[in-house]
């Protein structure tokens, strides 16, 4: 019963982040919402490993976190180089 509540709250957060990803006015808003979405997905993977009682799924969360950090940094550098015309 607790897991259903926690999964619903995580899904609510993912839904709001995805809405901002769709309607974001500038590309910076989209990158910010994608960053938030990635952190929420790490929590979702931890919650899935809690539900199935498998500690193996935590490795996926670690790798996903590393890739999400890389993605944020690459998008930030892209924004700075492509739009920063000063």
């Amino acid at each position: 019963m607790i897991t259903i509540l926690v999964f619903s709250l995580i899904g609510l957060g993912m839904l709001f982040a995805l809405l901002r990803l769709v309607i974001g006015p500038t590309i910076a808003d989209r990158v910010v919402s994608l960053d938030t979405f990635n952190i929420i997905v790490i929590g979702l993977i931890v919650m899935l490993s809690f539900l199935f009682k498998r500690s193996l799924y935590l490795d996926i969360a670690i790798i996903y976190g590393i890739l999400a950090f890389l993605e944020t940094i690459v998008f930030a550098r892209y924004l700075e180089g492509h739009y920063g015309h000063h």
Binding site: L9, F16, D29, S33, I42, R77, E80
Partner: protein
């Protein structure tokens, strides 16, 4: 012990939902960076603490994920804020812009 773990899990899910809501509702890009990063950091820590209380033998991996989030999330948000400032200018209704003076007094508004 099960009840304490459940409380931490619910707090983590609640802060995840609040972080998503902040990203959706905030009016400015910098406000969105603020809400989306800090609230989800606390949510992730609380969720990992709840899982650690329920399964103490998973300690090494959970602490590794927590340390990695602790290191990567502020660096990512700071890089994003700097890139947003350089690309689209600072916040619009700002009385004093110290970063603009620090960068040489150029006009960073598109």
């Amino acid at each position: 012990m099960d009840i304490i773990s459940s409380i931490f899990l619910v707090i983590g899910g609640l802060f995840y939902a609040l972080g998503g809501l902040g990203v959706f509702r905030m009016p400015d890009t910098f406000d969105r960076i603020q809400a989306g990063t800090k609230a989800t950091t606390l949510g992730a820590f609380s969720l990992l603490l709840g899982a650690l209380i329920a399964f103490p033998s998973w300690g090494l991996k959970l602490v590794l994920i927590a340390i990695f989030i602790m290191l990567s999330n502020p660096i990512g948000s700071s890089a994003l804020a700097k890139a947003t400032y350089r690309a689209f200018g600072g916040p619009k209704n700002l009385e004093q812009d110290d970063l603009n003076e620090f960068l040489g007094g150029k006009e960073y508004v598109d």
